[in-house]
């Protein structure tokens, strides 16, 4: 299919701040729409990740089974994969729980010991995904092509990266953590 490229954005274990930053691109989003079709995104109503995506921006760390499965599916179906923001690149705030030990212990503390009077662990197999032992950055589970640090990355940085990658050029270097 000549013409428009397929763009996807994915939200794993993060605060959605990176997507907010993406929306900060304001009117340039109209220019972006001329370059690419947004085929999958938390801000678009698409239930399944489609095949043959040219570029996927992934926000968030890999914290649970659902993230892991989605990350692998996205990698499999995307030509170019970008870890967008510190959570995807380093684990960041999402990974702070790694210092506190196994997730079982953590859930117990949060939902039972410090929870409300009913104090039960959330359990809904098939609906609530199980937590992984450790939160890991995206590149720990799938190969990543480009990294865009920042918490969140500033809108102009996202634009510079998109402009370069959508035109087939190498992305600009730099960007800082935090």
């Amino acid at each position: 299919m000549a013409g428009k490229l397929k763009l996807a954005t994915v939200w794993l274990g993060g605060c959605s701040g990176c997507h907010m930053s993406l929306l900060d691109l304001d009117t340039w989003l109209i220019d972006l729409a001329a370059l690419a079709d947004l085929v999958y995104s938390p801000i678009a109503d698409q239930k399944h990740f489609p095949d043959g995506v040219d570029l996927s921006l992934v926000e968030g760390a890999v914290a649970n089974e659902e993230h892991l499965a989605l990350a692998q599916e996205v990698r499999h179906k995307s030509r170019v994969l970008v870890a967008m923001g510190d959570c995807a690149v380093t684990g960041n705030v999402t990974a702070l729980r790694n210092q506190l030990g196994a997730p079982d212990r953590l859930l117990q503390q949060i939902y039972v010991e410090h929870g409300d009077a009913r104090g039960v662990l959330p359990a809904a197999p098939g609906i609530i995904p199980r937590l992984l032992d450790r939160v890991v950055p995206l590149h720990a589970v799938v190969p990543v092509d480009h990294y865009l640090p920042g918490c969140p990355p500033a809108a102009p940085q996202i634009r510079a990266l998109l402009k370069a990658l959508l035109s087939g050029a190498p992305p600009p270097a730099g960007g800082r953590f935090g």
Partner: protein, 539 residues
Amino acid sequence: MDLAELNAIAAHERASRKPIRIACCTSLGCYASGAVELQQQLTAGVAATGRAENVEVVGVGCMGFCGHGPLVRIEPEDLLFEHVRPEQAPAIIAALDGGPCDVERGDPRHPFFARQLPIVRRNGGVIDPERIEAYIAAGGYATLYRVLHDVSPAEVIDQITRSGLRGRGGAGYPTGLKWATVAKSPGERKFVVCNGDEGDPGAFMDRSILESDPHLVLEGMAIAAYAVGAHEGYLYVRGEYPLAIQRLTRAISQARRHGLSGSQIFETAFDFKVEVRVGAGAFVCGEETALIASIEGRRGQPRPRPPYPAERGLWGCPTLINNVETFANIVPIIERGADWYASIGTARSKGTKVFALTGKIRNTGLIEVPMGITLREIIEDLGGGTPDGTPVKAVQTGGPSGGCIPASLFDTPVDYESLAAAGSIMGSGGMVVMDAGTNMVEIARFYMAFCMDESCGKCVPCRVGTVQMHHLLDKLVNGQATSEDLVQLEALCQIVREMSLCGLGQSAPNPVLSTLRYFRDEYAALLNAPSAAAPQPTD
């Protein structure tokens, strides 16, 4: 003290010897398996059987055949008994009359003994290390006397240089050159330091020398001090060697009492005062700049060189640091001459080297062999191969800074250059023998765990790099590693080697590099995991 007195002590000591001598090894290995009680039982038995007139029981230093201890030797018949238990004392005494004796007999002409060339260990297993008179009777301190009266410091250094002696701590720096540098370094105050912080896994050469012949080291240090113009010395011994520390401390006070240490030694203008400093359990304190910091009372961690200690060492003064075995070589060299010493060994590695044979080897123990002997001769002839006769797979030399040499290279001669070319180092003398059942990746992980635990934490590559390498080796051993992990491990080896501050970090990758070089198939066989392995969900 003068020469006449020294000779009188020696003569008296020799005259008071009894015709029959039961020598009982009291070095740490035998000590730990009951040698002290055995010695008491032998002494009591000799008295009880009314033989005290012509039989003496003497505690001696290490005989070397540690795996067969406690050892007892009867002279002049040259009977050797092995694995002797205290309750067997009467049987040994009975054997003096040629009576039947069911105590396990050893062969003093076994290749383990016959193939050795004892120079620094010549008094080991022979003299009582707790009595200075025994050392003097064996010719001790006569060399120091001669040096102080008849030899100039420059001549001493010349002898050491011409002998070809190289540092026995492992790196093999020419000893004479080091001495000359310290001698020429300007400074009113200089120090001589003996590095007894031996810490390689499986190494106990220095411990044995210090336990068996402490005065030999002290005399060597005194000669060194005279040669370089120092008047103060420190013996830095690791805290895990209580018997060595005890015997050294005793030896120093005996030497001081006899005017062989302290002020105006042998009634000359030469003063030399020695003190023992006990390490507190840090392997890195074997590195000379860390050792200096530790003696000074500071945190034992290395600093970048230059300046080298020969120029700026202890308290900023020129300092000569040599290893225990290096100092133990000094007296024999001066005594018998540089040419004699240089006639032993190979073109570039002179003299002998003490090795501690451990691991999957029949004859565990301590040996002193001439440089140039092959690994095969050591392992097969002296060591007797593996206990169950299966083939030897490899030998690890040089401790955590060294490497594993495969059996296919066992014809490599033991010298500094050949071992380095084989991907290992001479090191201080630990030799750990491995059989076919040994997993070489696990061996690499063991040494990496050692380096990781012993890293002082000062420089980033060693502090964190060793942990990351250990993590990757752990993944390998557990079958969780990918081919990317192996690539990363090799990259880390390079980074840690090039970027670390001291020898500990710079050589920490060696066990990995050498096992990768010779046993890469074992690494490859462990790469079971698919690429970019996913973390497992919790249950």
